[in-house]
């Protein structure tokens, strides 16, 4: 199939439609809006459901209802809108329903700005709504990967009856790249038997709810959810390694930050520095084992993010002071240039290899010098 030059947001929307999206509910917010706009034309054209909701609260609860029917449904938003959706994500998770949410992350907190960011890592990976639940979180680093992961997201959501998040950023949403879109898949003709409105065995009916008024029943449910998550941690981890075979140093970065870091890793390799890159594709479940296996014999790790070191905490817990960790991040919608990461790699290989070093503290001191504190 020929490659097409498409913007990230549109590519995700068109892919979702091609892999059998039956309903979409959303609300305009930059830098995600093209996704909603594309589907506002395409869904009705194909006789499928599209509603521009009154709010992100409305949108996620429409998704909640649509998910109860067992047919593919999704929403998309950006950080402030996704904050509003957290209530719904908790309910959908607590009802064990498949749904896909795209978060095209922007700079924050608060209204923040519309520039690319990864500041919602903790919110999506470690839960943003109430109660205990997990989302599968997929982090593409190119438009093609966003396409591929969108198709995967629906499969995973249905396989595990849970919410899958595609964690993008304003760059990926807005950037145009040549991609190969998947062919049109036929729509599911029958709903699964757990869905409302589906054909149920004689005399049975379906009630879908997240309520467990009896605490022992809630605990049993939570044990079931945790057991499923344990299985997902075993079976669904995805990541990509670059130049890791002989690497003495490892850079860890996801999404756009991972992609920029790859440029720096290549530049360092050209200078003869033995550095590789681990790019988690599933940031939830996190590639714990892959990272753990990399620790032995390494001289240093550098975590690169477009936030204040949210994944850094996860990496630090795994590396557990066996190897020194460094951090470089930009915040508030600022995106690191490759030369900033080049410098961070350089600093890592010339550092004194102290496993107890305070990666975030050193970085923050540098940031105060670089951008000031506004004081």
């Amino acid at each position: 199939m020929a490659l097409e030059l498409i913007k990230g947001n549109v590519a995700v929307a068109e892919t979702a439609l091609r892999v059998g999206l039956v309903s979409y509910f959303g609300y305009p917010i930059t830098p995600q809006t093209e996704l909603l706009e594309h589907l506002s034309a395409r869904m009705p054209e194909l006789g499928r459901a599209f509603v521009q909701a009154e709010s992100e609260l409305g949108a996620i609860n429409m998704v909640y209802g649509a998910a109860c029917t067992g047919f593919r449904t999704m929403t998309s938003s950006s950080s402030p809108g996704v904050s509003l959706m957290q209530e719904g994500l908790s309910y959908i998770s607590g009802t064990e329903l498949p749904a896909v949410i795209v978060n095209v992350v922007r700079g924050g907190p608060g209204l923040g700005n519309i520039a690319p960011s990864q500041a919602d890592y903790t919110q999506m990976v470690h839960g943003g709504g109430h109660g205990e639940y997990h989302l599968i979180v997929l982090a593409p680093s190119s438009v093609q990967e966003a396409v591929d992961l969108t198709a995967l997201a629906f499969d995973l959501a249905e396989k595990y009856r849970m919410v899958v998040c595609i964690l993008m950023d304003g760059y990926l949403g807005q950037m145009m790249e040549p991609v190969e879109l998947p062919p049109f898949a036929p729509l599911r003709s029958e709903a699964p038997d757990w869905a409302v409105g589906a054909k149920h065995p004689e005399g049975e009916r379906v009630v879908l709810t997240s309520i467990n008024i009896n605490p022992p029943m809630q605990e049993i449910f939570n044990v079931k959810m945790m057991s499923r998550w344990q299985q997902i941690e075993k079976d669904e981890v995805r990541y990509k390694g670059y130049y890791l075979d002989d690497a003495e140093y490892v850079v860890v970065g996801f999404g756009t930050a991972g992609r920029i870091a790859l440029s720096s890793v290549r530049a360092a390799r050209a200078k003869g520095i033995k550095v590789g890159l681990l790019r988690p594709i599933t940031v939830s479940p996190f590639p714990v084992e892959a990272l753990d296996n990399l620790v032995s014999g390494k001289k240093g790790f550098l975590v690169v993010e477009m936030n204040n070191g949210q994944m850094l905490d996860d990496v630090s817990a795994i590396v557990a002071k066996r190897v020194p960790i460094h951090f470089y991040g930009r915040m508030g919608g600022m995106v690191p240039y490759p030369d900033e990461i080049d410098a961070a790699i350089d600093e890592m290989i010339h550092s004194d290899h102290d496993v107890n070093r305070d990666a975030r503290g050193v970085w923050l001191a540098k940031m105060r010098e670089l951008v000031g504190t506004g004081a």
């Binding site: 429409m62 209802g65 649509a66 109860c68 997240s210 309520i211």
Partner: protein
């Protein structure tokens, strides 16, 4: 032995499960539930209906209705019903919501669903208080009415005025059928049932968004006997919340005339 044929004249509707109610004695939730179940049975819609339960006393509505049901987050039932109806347009989809759920937490969702003209039916139970949490002030609480969070009586100067929800919804062009009925006596209950039938017929025929406000009693939180509660509804609620048709589209008028 009687020599006459025994004829069953009253039974549990087939749309009901065989369980004991958790509603308080004298509460009209049971009446509202029963009317909905009777109408759906009469229309042959029991196997084609999906209900959306709210948060509030009727959070367990699906324990009584014997057909597919989902349970919404507080106030979000119209959004959830939208998601279901847009995916399964041939199903009969209704929400059942109290005044805290619909007129306070969920005012955004209900107004938007009505404005869109969603082909769903909404039952709005107005009993002037938050029943489940123990009788706090609701958007529907009457001026001067004492509740557990307006112990001196609702002071309109600081706590505002009650919302006439049916009137508000009827002002939206997207709403096709908006009426208020009451459940305080037999005549009104019969009238309520007729309106419920009309609302479901509206949905069945694709004639738009239908909304029925049902004035209801809450003897427990009002501190009244069931009989006194019905009298209180009649004396105090109906002057504030008149029983009327607020919006009946011309297509629905024709439908009703045509039988």
């Amino acid at each position: 032995m009687l020599d006459t044929e025994v004829k069953l004249i009253y039974e549990r509707p087939h749309g009901f499960t065989d369980v004991t109610t958790h509603y308080c004695p004298g509460c009209t939730h049971g009446v509202a539930h029963r009317l909905i179940a009777e109408v759906l049975e009469e229309m042959g819609e029991l196997d084609n209906t999906i209900g959306v339960a709210p948060v509030g006393c009727s959070v367990f509505a699906y324990n009584y209705f014997d057909f597919d049901f989902v349970e919404a987050a507080h106030g979000r039932a119209p959004a959830m019903a939208t998601g279901i109806k847009r995916t399964l347009p041939n199903k009969t989809v209704f929400t059942y919501q109290g005044d805290g759920d619909l007129a306070s937490m969920g005012m955004g969702e209900i107004v938007a669903a009505a404005a869109r003209g969603e082909q769903i039916t909404v039952f709005f139970i107005n009993n002037t208080n938050y029943g489940m949490t123990g009788g706090q002030m609701a958007p529907t609480t009457l001026p001067g009415q004492k509740t557990s969070s307006s112990p001196l009586g609702r002071d309109v100067e600081t706590q505002g005025y009650p919302i006439r929800t049916a009137e508000l919804i009827s002002s939206l062009d997207g709403a096709s059928y908006v009426v208020r009925r009451s459940l305080h006596d037999a005549r009104n209950i019969r009238n309520a049932k007729k309106a419920i039938r009309t609302a479901f017929e509206v949905q069945k025929r694709g004639l738009g968004f239908s909304f029925i406000e049902l004035l209801s009693t809450c003897p427990t939180n009002w501190g009244l006997t069931p009989v006194k509660a019905r009298e209180w509804l009649k004396e105090y609620m109906i002057p504030q919340y008149p029983i009327a048709d607020f919006k009946v589209s011309s297509a629905i008028e024709e439908m009703v005339k045509g039988g």
